[in-house]
């Protein structure tokens, strides 16, 4: 039979890497087409302003400039930027590809220049003169929904985009029965995803066959292909979208952006390929941001630490308009707010608010890091209030392993889990008793030392189509070529996750072919005809089973051909180690090369046998998957400066069956690095006039090599029963599990000073101020 373990489960190095480490891979900016023109955008410096007049004459007159276009030139020829999230009673502004009468965030594109090279395009953008009339700016989402606020979009008559409620169980009963109610206001700061490769695209129109090709640095070439026809006059079947090498996404490239549609439109209009490459400053200002929720949370608990119910109200700052999934992200927070706990009742009201800032949308974890941070901080606050051990209170509220599949109050069905096992493993790896002693000794010596624990469960494998705005299935195709080599095509669009390797591992094992004979193609809609792309930890979990389905179909078909060639009945044929073998006479066998040759030459086929050895499949998941884990962090805080040093980091993640543990480790470590930033220093800052003050890497800090502690990494394996691979997804785990663990550790370190809660990021200054206030020490 199939040997499923020859490659699967091994820490194999990646097939993607040689081209990348040699510098010969092709990213969008590396494309050069004959006659290619270059676009540059002029963006509003105002957060909110009426555009009175745009003077483009000087720019148009510059040598090398091919055209200058404003909203008046293009907005009635391009459809609006799409939002796919279905929220009842959603109020949405019209989001044209260029600003129309008003610019409503700093960075809003106002005009586009097309020129013969990027230098001239940039010069010409500077030569455009725009007469702006500044309008009142909305920056604080809470003030935006209080009375008397100016309006982000006066035509909507309100700054409220929607009010969404999650409610389950008898919340009044829960609070009536509570011995104690723990309350906390918490802010989850706005973050900027900052993939190292900014966005960019090249559009090329072929007037002969009226087809358009768009190369874009996107996570979602298929979604772009589905949605772009609503913006430009090219039907889906004449549109080819290619995601070449993509330099990181983290949700920022899970979108359809105005620039993509505009470059496509201009390529048709000007009869030449048009390229646009985003600058870092543009990326910070006009590529989606993440998080940004403020909320009030109340938890009803019993004296012994059982959680009876949660009441939550949160205000989500959506920014100034809706990108693809903007309004849906905060609702995910409500969905998973009960975390890995049996909490019978919950109500959550989420108010989505417009402000004059860049739109928020899916950033790594998308709604779930917020939820996990909230519930994990709340569990610690409960433990503090009740003088209980934070581990004990978690154990008390976990569902038992035999309660899975576990149905949550928010109507999710957690597929499988053993939260106790992951917690125990993390404690073992952390050498828990020694760590606690270390803390006790440090405290006795007057040092600020803290231990933080976070347990988490996330929603991955996005997702069943009923829950996804544009379908959540995945497509795949496997072809045994005439030579016997194997071509695998997937509808997911990896950009660093390594599916060219992990899918090859799966295919090589299941087909019994040398892994070097397997090639995995993706990211080009003319090759991968259909797909729903890569986000929400879905590549392996939803894309993998589609490939497995193809393999099963091919093996079934090949068995019939093998039986014919071996002159036996199908029932007498067995597939074993890459050969089809007569069960009783193992010497009588055929391999893939022979089968493929016969299948395509097609002169000796069984009756009614369709030539070729190719299968394609759509896999529809029945449920999400629910990876989980425990992170334990120890920190020491410098009492004088407020600096936080992570002295120990233990991560135990359960993502089900691991196809390639090396890639799993890379995903978790990368996710934790995002969390270290989120917990300790990253934040997107707008001033009160809506000016972005973190518009460059000079002001927006990403974690660097020296910020990363030594990790102790472990895992437990609780296979998902929901898919044939048993996999659950791991792309977001680190970002979800780590932030609350770090925050809990810092708060544990500061606890002895009487500090109960501080907002993120836990910067040295914030900590220093808190220490000063609580120790009665003069600040400065």
């Amino acid at each position: 039979m199939v040997n499923p373990t020859k490659h699967v489960g091994q820490p194999m190095k990646r097939v993607e890497d040689p081209r990348l480490i040699k510098g010969i891979a092709t990213y969008v900016d590396d494309l050069r087409l004959p006659g290619m023109l270059h676009a540059a955008f002029l963006r509003s410096p105002h957060a909110h302003a009426r555009i009175r007049r745009i003077e483009t004459g000087a720019a148009k007159a510059m040598p090398g400039v091919v055209g200058v276009f404003t909203g008046a030139d293009v907005n009635d020829q391009c459809g609006v930027v799409p939002c796919a999230a279905a929220i009842p009673d959603l109020k949405a502004p019209k989001h044209t590809v260029l600003a129309g009468e008003r610019a409503y965030f700093a960075g809003h594109p106002v005009a586009v220049v097309v020129a013969q090279n990027a230098y001239v395009a940039r010069d010409a953008a500077d030569a455009i003169d725009v007469d702006y009339e500044p309008l009142p700016v909305v920056t604080d989402p809470e003030r935006a929904i209080a009375g008397g606020s100016p309006l982000t979009h006066p035509e909507l008559g309100t700054n409220v985009a929607y009010v969404h409620s999650v409610s389950s169980g008898d919340i009044d009963e829960a609070f009536r029965g509570a011995d104690r109610v723990v309350r906390q206001r918490m802010v989850h700061q706005r973050l900027t995803p900052m993939p190292i490769e900014p966005r960019g695209c090249v559009a090329s129109y072929h007037p002969g066959d009226q087809t358009l090709t768009l190369w874009s640095s996107t996570q979602v070439p298929h979604l772009v292909r589905t949605l772009l026809p609503g913006m430009i006059s090219v039907p889906e079947n004449k549109l080819r979208v290619v995601a070449p090498e993509v330099g990181g996404g983290f949700g920022a490239k899970l979108n359809v952006y105005a620039e993509e549609a505009l470059c496509a439109h201009l390529a048709m209009r000007l009869g030449a390929p048009v390229k646009w490459i985003e600058s870092r400053r543009e990326n910070a200002a006009a590529t989606i941001h993440g998080r940004d929720q403020i909320g009030e949370y109340e938890v009803a608990v019993t004296r012994d630490g059982r959680v009876l119910g949660i009441k939550a109200r949160s205000v989500a700052d959506l920014g100034s308009y809706l990108q693809l999934l903007t309004p849906a992200i905060p609702t995910l927070t409500g969905l998973v707010l009960t975390g890995c706990y049996k909490i019978p009742a919950i109500t959550m009201e989420i108010v989505g608010v417009y402000t004059n800032k860049m739109a928020t949308d899916a950033y790594r974890g998308a709604g779930r890091p917020e939820a996990t941070y909230l519930i994990e901080r709340l569990m610690n606050l409960i433990a503090d209030d009740l003088k209980l051990d934070p581990i004990e209170i978690r154990l008390k509220n976990f569902p038992q392993p035999d309660e899975f599949p576990f149905h949550t109050a928010t109507d999710l069905q957690y597929d499988s889990g053993n939260y106790q096992a992951a917690l125990k493993e993390a404690q073992r790896l952390a050498d828990w008793p020694a760590l606690v002693r270390q803390r006790d000794d440090a405290r006795a010596a007057g040092r600020l030392f803290g231990i933080g624990v976070s347990t988490y469960v996330e929603i991955c494998g996005m997702g069943p189509s009923k829950a996804m705005p544009a379908g959540g299935w995945e497509w795949g195709c496997v072809r045994i070529e005439i030579s016997g080599k194997v071509t695998v095509i997937t509808g997911v669009s990896p950009h660093g996750q390594g599916e060219e390797t992990s899918f090859a591992q799966i295919v090589a094992d299941r087909l019994g072919v040398p892994i070097g004979d397997v090639v995995v193609l993706h990211g080009d809609t003319n090759i991968a005809h259909y797909g729903r792309d890569t986000y929400g930890s879905r590549g392996l979990v939803v894309g993998g089973p589609a490939i497995v389905m193809c393999i099963d179909k091919i093996i079934a078909k090949a068995s019939a051909l093998a039986a014919h060639l071996l002159s036996v009945s199908v029932d007498d044929v067995e597939f074993r180690d890459g050969r089809f073998v007569e069960k009783k006479k193992p010497d009588n066998s055929v391999d893939w090369a022979r089968l493929a040759g016969e299948a395509y030459i097609a002169k000796n086929l069984p009756p009614a046998f369709e030539p070729g050895l190719e299968a394609s499949s759509f896999y529809e998941p029945e449920n999400f998957t629910y990876p989980f884990g425990t992170h334990i962090v120890a920190v020491e805080v410098d009492r004088e400066t407020g600096d936080v040093k992570i002295v120990k980091y233990v991560a135990v993640d359960d993502c089900g069956v691991q196809i390639n543990p090396l890639l799993v480790e890379g995903q978790v470590q990368g996710g934790i690095a995002h969390s270290i930033g989120q917990a300790l220093f990253e934040r997107t800052v707008y001033d009160e006039n809506g000016q972005l003050l973190t518009g460059e890497f000079m002001d927006y800090p990403l974690a660097r090599a020296h910020d990363i502690p030594d990790y102790v990494m472990g895992s437990t394996v609780t296979p998902s029963p929901g898919n044939p691979l048993g996999a659950k997804g791991v792309g977001e785990a680190g970002t979800i599990g780590a932030t609350p663990a770090i925050a809990n550790a810092v708060m544990d370190a500061l606890g002895p000073l009487g500090i109960r809660h501080l907002e993120l990021p836990l910067t040295p200054e914030r900590i220093w101020r808190a220490i000063g206030q609580h120790a009665g020490v003069a600040a400065g």
Partner: protein, 281 residues
């Protein structure tokens, strides 16, 4: 990402550079290592008409000993200063400070002269050259002049260097090994939110303290120095004196650190720098 146009000149002597500066006036900018100027030009915050690249003037990057002083050419890179055996022996503070600037690539190109003349309030070298009482030598059509470090910085990004002048070398006295630089970094850019360079003399009785990053221009923490002059440098005495590190200055505030926090760090880092220097003595 794309600078505005400019014309470019590459003199091979100081005189030629001065002549070009004189000719082009305030529309010209000197290009040394370019690590302050080019990022500003790419954002079009700076749009000089003429760039005068002094990178090919022979001898401008020498690090040598002369008349009992260490002489550093304006084009000496941070990396050259960091790795100079002479600097390590005769003026270790400069090497320590150089090692804390930016990152390896920035240190390979960035120059001491460029950094000093740009006078970014978060630059590292000013703390050291103030503590060291360095002399800065400027050439102009009127000949050359020497300016004491204490008189060099006028305000944020303003120095005494005139549009037709060129900083060509920095000289510092040979100093003991009892020196230390303690820096709190702006997390994103690596610039100093507060950098303190301290030198303790052989008897550990007087100290020189240069502070950068805290105010709109770097300064000597004279109140700290006065409080410790002639005193035994015990931890308590140092801590008490260091509390005066931001006396009389108006600390800067931005999204990375408030004025109060900068002032507080001035005290903490001053204490730490002096104690570290004492420990090395």
């Amino acid at each position: 990402m794309i600078p505005a146009t400019f014309s470019y000149a590459r003199p091979t002597t100081i005189d030629e550079a001065i002549a070009l500066l004189t000719k082009h006036g305030s529309g010209a900018k000197v290009l040394a290592g370019g690590h302050s100027l080019l990022p500003a030009m790419k954002l079009r915050l700076a749009q000089p008409e003429v760039l005068i690249d002094i990178g090919r003037i022979a001898g401008l990057n020498t690090i040598a000993e002369r008349d009992g002083r260490v002489v550093i050419g304006t084009m000496a890179t941070h990396a050259e200063i960091e790795s100079s055996a002479l600097v390590a022996r005769a003026c270790p503070l400069l090497g320590q400070v150089a090692a804390r600037i930016g990152d390896a690539q920035v240190r390979n190109r960035g120059t001491i002269g460029g950094s000093l003349v740009h006078a970014d309030p978060g630059a590292d070298f000013p703390a050291a050259i103030l503590a060291l009482d360095a002399e800065l030598r400027l050439a102009s059509p009127r000949g050359s002049r020497s300016v004491k470090a204490a008189a060099f910085f006028e305000a944020m990004m303003q120095t005494v260097v005139q549009p037709d002048e060129l900083l060509f070398e920095i000289t510092v006295p040979k100093t003991a090994t009892s020196a230390a630089y303690v820096k709190s970094e702006q997390k994103a850019s690596g610039f100093a939110i507060c950098g303190v360079a301290a030198i303790v003399d052989a008897q550990a009785k007087t100290v020189a303290v240069g502070v950068t990053g805290v105010a709109s221009k770097p300064y000597r923490a004279t109140a700290v120095e006065a409080a410790l002059r002639g005193r035994a440098l015990t931890p308590d005495a140092v801590a008490a004196a260091a509390a005066l590190a931001a006396n009389g200055v108006e600390p800067l505030g931005d999204i990375h650190a408030s004025p109060e926090y900068r002032a507080h760090l001035a005290a903490v880092n001053t204490k730490r720098a002096i104690l570290k220097a004492v420990a090395q003595g």
